[in-house]
Symmetry: C2
């Protein structure tokens, strides 16, 4: 017993979604066809529209429907700060933290020579252009705290030096509200190493 | 900061999938737009095609592209057995067990008066027709072992009696390979209650 051809093709197509295996694909497909045809139609339209309209911001490589994303189009942002993130989701996370008012640059990945991802794939040419324009004074490296993220940050740090721009790395340490006993040892190692002086009041 | 309108609409549309919350919707949408435009196009086509072509089998209510599903169209099946399941996934599961060679009937739900799901929504009229046709000798009730599933089985059991057809319920008990100490007490209760005589060799 197998499903009918177009249902089987739907099951296979759903597998391209991250985190969706055979069982969830089946659950999703049957749910849409059995109970939510309206939702299925909406998803078809939304996905087709988004795939057609959403491209990359010509300045920061954020996903956007316009030529410039909202952050790049905004006039009241600090042009001297440029924060480099790995993905659009990271940009949204930094924006939501509310602690940053500069510009962004989205790498859409991180250096990973074994997977064939080098500076060209991360849009480093575009980043060079912006560093070369002269208004950026500090490059904030907000790549992830993984081996590849650190390597990417190191590479971008030397790029900043090349352009005479200061580079900084976001702080790593114990998360706010985190209890020490549950923090993994590499984070704790980093937190102790990067300790800051307490000023006496 | 928010996403662009068509991206936001895609995030909302993905939420209609079962088990997808805001975070997974974001992960899926960004994955498709950043890294897998081909997969997105394939999903659009597959979903549109399936939604257009897949309907219900006119005899058993299984999802199919034809008028009759493969099981109903097959000639070498036992017409005297009719197995009632709740969903297309359940039908596939019973087929895969390999232990059944009769026909099926798919309820596409279970009795749940509070949600407005009564006999009419479960296609009971169609089931009556088939029981009335006279070839069915046994109705195998394979609804789930939940309160609603049991209520549905009880209702269908009395329906079978009405047509002079025997009704049986699939066995409930300790799963094969299951160790007793990890089996929940209601399953174990049922397993002890439904114990079967051991024949001496």
């Amino acid at each position: 017993m197998s499903f009918s051809p177009s249902l089987q093709e739907l099951l296979d197509a759903l597998r391209c979604l991250p985190g969706v295996g055979p069982k969830s694909a089946q659950r999703m497909a049957l749910h849409l066809l059995e109970k939510d045809r309206e939702g299925a139609a909406r998803l078809v339209t939304a996905l087709a529209t988004a795939a057609e309209r959403v491209g990359l911001c010509t300045r920061c490589r954020m996903l956007t429907e316009q030529e410039l994303c909202p952050v790049c189009a905004a006039t009241r942002r600090d042009d001297t700060l440029l924060c480099v993130v790995e993905s659009p989701a990271d940009l949204v996370a930094v924006e939501e933290s509310g602690g940053y008012r500069g510009r962004y640059f989205v790498l859409l990945g991180r250096l990973s020579p074994l997977d064939g991802i080098g500076p060209a794939e991360l849009g480093v040419d575009l980043l060079r252009e912006q560093l070369g324009a002269g208004h950026v004074k500090e490059l904030v490296l907000a790549t992830s705290a993984t081996v590849e993220g650190e390597a990417t940050a190191a590479y971008l740090g030397s790029l900043a030096t090349e352009f005479g721009v200061a580079a900084s790395r976001i702080a790593h340490g114990v998360p706010m509200g985190g209890e020490l006993e549950y923090v993994d040892s590499s984070t704790l190692f980093r937190a102790i190493e990067s300790r800051t002086a307490v000023e006496s009041v």
